[in-house]
Symmetry: C2
Subunit: 198 residues, 2 copies
DNA sequence: GCAGTAAACGGACTTCACCCCGCTTACATT
DNA sequence: AATGTAAGCGGGGTGAAGTCCGTTTACTGC
């Protein structure tokens, strides 16, 4: 498959893991704002250039952390038990996927937000493509007449991620007065029902 | 109404206008990337502190430019002829609003993108609130049973703005092979039909 | 006009993301 | 083991965002 590219050097992957671990420690200790390229370099005892080599940009750090967290989530989507995994109807899976993603994004909210990059076109390194592709796939199975499925998938991805990542501030999401997660999940379910029914 | 706050000082509003005019010139001459706080200060002959006083952040400049452009658009929405303005059915108005906003965002794409701020919760200073509130208002008139209208309005706002501002790259939007505006407009219309029908 | 004051101005200063490039080191080959 | 080399490492350098605070200036009441 990749005969051209060689496996990463031992010190490289060791340093990468060490950087991610250090970043997690800093995150739980002081929150995302205090994670700067210099600070991460200092705390890990490595050079600044090394940090950039591994993550490219500041938000790249958070994208890597998010990727890490997302592995289990992806597993559940691709080969876990229904309705999230294969086996249920596409509509059920779509609803379950939204619910799972809402939970995931709420749980890792600070990382997900920090992974956004103003200059980048699409949010969240490899995270969002999964959403888009998976939703696209489930829509195909739904047999909605002659529709621009690519665009609909993007619209639904935006409707799912947008509120959590862009439109609702942290204080609004933390509002314990109304159960946010429940509200978002129900809203998503409602949206899918309306999309599917006619 | 605002007895507490006094009108802005003459020099302040003069400088503000001058800064916006300078920013527009720089924008058409060199594109958005070359607009930095220092550059704008130098080109306008004012101090950097003044630029920050007026716009707060770099993206604030673009938000102000967008606000400026949006005045005519808002006028059309609030008191122009139907179906964009009042007079048509809420469903027609919702579709017309989407179409108008898509056109607006495509026309001012570079400004709108630059107005996004990674660290800020909601995109586009006062622009998006209008979308959200207007959509919310039209949804109310639609008599969709017992639905969380606030959330639905946010979801639809995200579905409308997201593709243009976040998910589609500039090259994808410029694709002259398929008429992007037509595609987006049709997609929005389809979405609204599905939301409304049942 | 004139003094008082709150707002606006300006630019030096700090911090941070990101670049660059000479140096070092892991791995392959013999 | 010795050697070649490409990948990885390090940290000083640069440009731009955003802060601070002393100075200046437009308005207010006399």
């Amino acid at each position: 498959m990749d005969l051209t590219s060689r496996p990463p050097r031992a010190d490289a992957s060791r340093n990468r893991n060490h950087l991610l671990a250090t970043a997690r420690t800093m995150l739980t200790d002081h929150g995302p704002d205090r994670i700067t390229m210099d600070a991460l370099a200092d705390c890990s005892g490595l050079g600044k250039g090394t940090v950039f080599r591994h993550f490219g940009t500041r938000s790249g750090i958070f994208q890597a952390l998010l990727d890490d967290n997302e592995r289990a989530f992806q597993e559940g989507v691709l080969s876990g038990p229904p309705p999230l995994g294969p086996g249920a109807s596409p509509r059920e899976r779509l609803i379950a996927y939204g619910q799972a993603r809402i939970r995931f994004l709420l749980e890792h909210h600070d990382i997900a937000r920090a992974a956004l990059d103003g200059r980048q076109p699409a949010p969240a390194g490899s995270a969002t493509p999964l959403s888009r592709i998976h939703i696209r796939m489930l829509l195909t199975q739904l047999d909605l007449g002659p529709v621009d499925l690519d665009l609909l998938a993007i619209q639904l991805t935006a409707a799912l991620d947008g509120p959590l990542l862009l439109y609702l501030s942290k204080s609004e999401l933390d509002a314990t007065t109304c159960p946010t997660e429940q509200r978002l999940t129900t809203g998503w379910q409602n949206l899918i029902h309306r999309i599917c029914h006619p």
